[in-house]
């Protein structure tokens, strides 16, 4: 495996991301227009009982390896919980109802699975959810798990606010509306809005929705949203490994099917990047796309000046502006600080 990825390779992943998402996202935005009634700037403030802190949650493997939800429940965290769509099902199955669910990926058939797909039986067979570690509950008994998720989202949907990017597939929007989930819209900033042929400006001109930096994926967007829109501080993140735990088979990685088309089986590991985590003294590995996500997030943290509290307890996100912290320590400190402010 490599030890890093150069700038040119990162640019290629960035270009591929733009090409894969921009035009389809614009077409989705056109179809979603009738439902854009409220923006992320219309959100009511969080209640004072929530305090000033937030936890943003992505669906990386540490969420399950470190039993993050159990810690949040055990310590009765009362701050704001912002989750990427991929982490919502895990929360609901464990009796935790997030305050906000962030949805940004315009993929036409995968994203609806996080909300329970009413049309799963008629979809072409796809091993995306069976194969990987984002939500292990979906690795087996897909139909039963999907039915369970439909029921849970229908039951609790009205309690969660969806932070919906305009580019998201219309089937996801329909599913959220069906479940009674309130939608608050935003445009993803995809390129330089000051450039004359800017895609971001085109989206803005179409929708009139405010535009927000994404960080490249739902987990990063959740953390940015908690800082930028909710103005929470401090904001920790969990489940954001942006990599694979030691021992994870390459075949279980997100881009395996793409990479195996280009690398022979015996050289496939050359496509991946190893990253040593000094806090855990473990060597994790990542693929080019996750490495790009990692670089995006490091760039956002550095450029924003916000401190990111990494309570994932695993993964590859280490760098300037990122404070590594155990989740129970973060929660206990926030509860203590809240109690002190309540007394004073």
């Amino acid at each position: 495996m490599k030890s890093s990825l150069d700038r040119a390779s990162l640019d290629l992943v960035a270009q591929a991301t733009f090409q894969k998402t921009a035009e389809i996202g614009f077409q989705h935005a056109k179809l979603n227009l009738p439902y854009m009634k409220q923006t992320i700037l219309d959100l009511p403030p969080t209640s004072p009982e929530k305090g000033t802190s937030a936890i943003s949650m992505a669906a990386g493997p540490s969420l399950h390896r470190r039993e993050t939800i159990q810690t949040i429940k055990k310590l009765d965290y009362r701050g704001t919980l912002v989750v990427a769509d991929g982490a919502m099902g895990h929360c609901l199955r464990n009796g935790v109802i997030p305050d906000y669910v962030v949805c940004v990926d315009p993929h036409p058939t995968w994203i609806i699975r996080w909300f329970g797909d009413p049309d799963l039986a008629s979809r072409a067979d796809d091993d995306y959810f069976r194969r990987q570690d984002l939500d292990p509950a979906l690795n087996t008994k897909e139909r039963e798990r999907n039915d369970e998720l439909i029921r849970l989202v229908n039951e609790h949907g009205h309690k969660m606010k969806v932070i919906m990017a305009t580019c998201v597939a219309p089937n996801v929007v329909a599913r959220c509306r069906e479940a009674g989930m309130p939608l608050y819209w935003w445009n993803p900033i995809c390129d330089d809005y000051d450039a004359p042929d800017s895609h971001t400006r085109r989206l803005y001109d179409l929708t009139g929705m405010p535009c927000m930096v994404t960080g490249g994926n739902g987990g990063a967007s959740a953390w940015i949203f908690a800082n930028a829109i909710l103005e929470k501080s401090p904001v920790a993140f969990v489940g954001m490994d942006l990599g694979y735990a030691p021992g994870t088979p390459l075949s279980k990685t997100q881009y395996y099917h793409e990479l195996i088309k280009f690398y022979p089986e015996d050289r496939l590991n050359e496509a991946y990047i190893e990253i040593h985590n000094p806090y855990l003294n473990e060597t994790w590995y990542t693929d080019p796309t996750y490495y790009w996500y990692r670089q995006c997030f490091l760039d956002v943290v550095k450029q924003s000046g916000w401190t990111a509290y990494n309570c994932t307890e695993g993964g590859t996100l280490i760098g300037e502006g990122i404070e590594w912290m155990a989740l129970d320590q973060f929660i206990k400190e926030q509860q203590r600080s809240y109690q002190l402010s309540a007394v004073s």
Partner: protein, 80 residues
């Protein structure tokens, strides 16, 4: 001009229209030459298939942009 990160030139878009708007043709050619040298065609083809969830750009410290109205972009309040 605010620093732009997460940036790249989309094929079909000129550099002037693209990201920095400051790179002249010679510099662009040089950069492209280096780019070609750095990444083999084999890897280029692979990387071109590995797009992520959503594109990413951050301009200066602005995390929010609401059009060209006055005070339309919201920064992080941490200017360095």
């Amino acid at each position: 001009m605010a620093k732009l990160i997460g940036n790249y030139t989309v094929p079909g878009q000129t550099a002037e229209n693209g990201t920095s708007g400051q790179v002249d043709a010679t510099e662009r050619e040089k950069a492209e030459g280096a780019h070609q040298a750095q990444v083999s065609e084999f890897e280029r083809r692979a990387m071109g298939k590995l797009g992520g969830s959503i594109a990413f750009v951050m301009k200066g410290k602005n995390v929010l942009w609401t059009g060209d109205k006055a005070a339309s972009s919201k920064g992080t309040g941490h200017e360095k």
